[in-house]
Amino acid sequence: MLTIAQLLEPLARHRTDEVVVTTMSVVRPWGRISDNDLDFASADSAMGHAADLALGIALARPGRGVICLNGDGSMLMSLGTLATVVEAAPRNYILVVSDNGEYEITGHQPVPAAGRIDHAALAEAAGFRNVFRFDEARAWTKRVTEVLCAPGPTFVHAVVEAGEQGPIGRGDHEQARYLRSSLAESARSVRAALTARPL
């Protein structure tokens, strides 16, 4: 298993100009190591739909990489998204499922079929162009640039240890900059950053 830091730190080191959409237990850990105007937290938002939101951005901005850091519980809430992504076939889209087997935010309850469901196999069966599975840090660190450069849609199933993240809010009490503004303000901020750049 990877720790959440082992998953996120190599990604933050190699990320260049990609949009990064986070949700649930990844939101704060990513906000601690990244402060970028193309970071967007799908928090205080719609459950299970971060991957869809990221897909929309990828389709609107085909020249820019879009990475969604999803959770396994969130993925299970909208498995049909896998089919929708494959049909839309964005080459600039990377969907990472951080699989800790539980609803960490709500107190470590197990997700359905925790430890049995194979997210990588689901993505492969759905028709993702590139599918990766990592359950230890060394292989992930070694191949992260390959993942970022692979033509999408790309799926990464990362088996991670559960952390201790609690409910996520928005406002000054949150440390991460991208959580200090409202969802509406944050969406407009990312929109302004994206539309100021070429497609």
Partner: protein, 181 residues
């Protein structure tokens, strides 16, 4: 693709500046999906479940595109948390074309606008509860809407829907209770 060469509804979408149609077809919107798929000027994104459509549309808007969500009223009801947590929460100017299943039955049954929701109306055999709940639900969610009925021009109504969403900077709906041209 020029505006003149596209079918009437697609022409209307092009005039309104729509770049993507996102949703799931039903018998009413089927021709729109069919025609949109045939014309490269507007990209069709068919989703697996309606909740996806609102989040995808918001992502498209964040990326600078101008999407139109097209769902049946049944799918609208299914997608409640997605609409709430994305388009409403973001105040994103997403136009929503809602095709109204059950409106004809509701009209035949004698129920109409302002009828209210009751267990009696929801369980009547000659009424489709999807139609009974559509407008009260839009009102409860704070989504402004208009009805496009038999005597209205649906293409003009869709163009006006897009303009209303953009002007008001919020998700805005058009409930279509008639066929498209």
């Amino acid at each position: 693709m020029t505006v003149e060469a596209a079918p009437e509804t697609v022409r209307g979408l092009m005039r309104a500046g729509i770049t993507h149609v996102v949703g799931i077809p039903d018998n009413t919107s089927g021709p729109l999906f069919h025609e949109t798929a045939r014309h490269a000027a507007i990209r069709l994104i068919t989703v697996a479940r309606e909740g996806e459509a609102f989040a995808i549309a918001c992502g498209l808007w964040m990326g600078g595109a101008s999407p139109l969500v097209v769902v049946q009223n049944t799918g609208l009801l299914e997608a409640g948390d997605s609409l709430r947590g994305t388009a409403l929460r973001m105040a994103a100017p997403i136009p929503i074309l809602v095709t109204g299943r059950g409106y004809e039955k509701m009209s035949r049954s004698g129920l109409g606008a302002g009828h209210g929701v009751s267990l009696a109306s929801l369980t009547r055999g000659d009424v489709d509860s999807a139609a009974v709940l559509t407008e009260p639900t839009l009102t409860a969610w704070g989504v402004p809407y208009r009805i496009c009925g038999e005597h209205d021009d649906p293409v003009a109504a869709i163009e006006e829907l897009v303009a209303r969403a953009q002007e008001s900077e919020r998700p805005t709906a058009l409930v279509l209770t008639r066929a498209l041209p």
